[in-house]
Symmetry: C2
Subunit: 152 residues, 2 copies
Amino acid sequence: MSVSRAQLPEPWSAVPDRFRGRGLRWTAQRRVVVEVLAATDGHITSAELVDRCRALEASTIPSTVYRTLDALEELGLVRHGHGADGREEFHVQPAAEHGHRYCAACGGSWEIHGEEAAAVRAAFDEAAGFEVDLSHVTIVGRCRGCRDARSI
Amino acid sequence: MSVSRAQLPEPWSAVPDRFRGRGLRWTAQRRVVVEVLAATDGHITSAELVDRCRALEASTIPSTVYRTLDALEELGLVRHGHGADGREEFHVQPAAEHGHRYCAACGGSWEIHGEEAAAVRAAFDEAAGFEVDLSHVTIVGRCRGCRDARSI
DNA sequence: GCCTTTATTGCAACACGTTGCAGTAAGCCC
DNA sequence: GGGCTTACTGCAACGTGTTGCAATAAAGGC
């Protein structure tokens, strides 16, 4: 099977050359994954990505998708994290790096940016010199609303 | 199959009555899981727990172990979290509640206690009123040694 | 001890991810 | 265009968790 020559939407059009520049190959399967990612806004779980790839190209094989995601992560085009239940989630670039916070009671979710993010980084950097991978930060707990509801 | 009457080691001896007091039942399968936990120091992954249960009682069924863990968690006897790869990990009580921090480069792991823990709690409590479940905190990044090694 | 109620189990099927391997095809050179 | 090298794919098998359902057995009352 040969790879379509049609243009990818920005900022993905240079991706094929990024692959080739590293000695990697640009294939039809990888194109499908990148097309799905290009149409994704911010986040996607692995399982959902596989589903969407299958919708676009019925012959998609899950293991190939997972391996393509690994390659894309090495190129810095996506970053993976884990949801509240530990399942994989991908952050699609060029969204700013951020973490996630989930309420175990109501299922709500929020992104961790700005001051919260800085406070988390500082908590581990100051004493331990540990550099936090913010994309991988998943905090579970109870949001203000659910705390209030329970304490009434 | 009937349940052994032999004493469980402290602080687990009251567990059967804790189950019954909630209208739950004390069974041979649950006893096996509790025996393994009683012999565990601090942490264990689900998979390892299943293995150890099978070593003790060859007929152990994984789904029963997972369901028993859910019941034990509702009773507050264990708390689950997720490792760096998202796989389940259990903290066995009465160890103090704590989080975990993993270095993606060297695979090292540390527990999050004391000031680090307080700083994480504060980061989310102050502005958002969010109560962090510390057992569920898994931070991934690079430790001081691996940062230094890379920046040479 | 026997009966009744219903929580729990065992099993089978499924969902999510990973890994090893032999065959295929992308990229490069001529 | 044709041939070579080797990255990549498809597949199959496995590991980790979850779920639905019929059969089993713990607890409690007699």
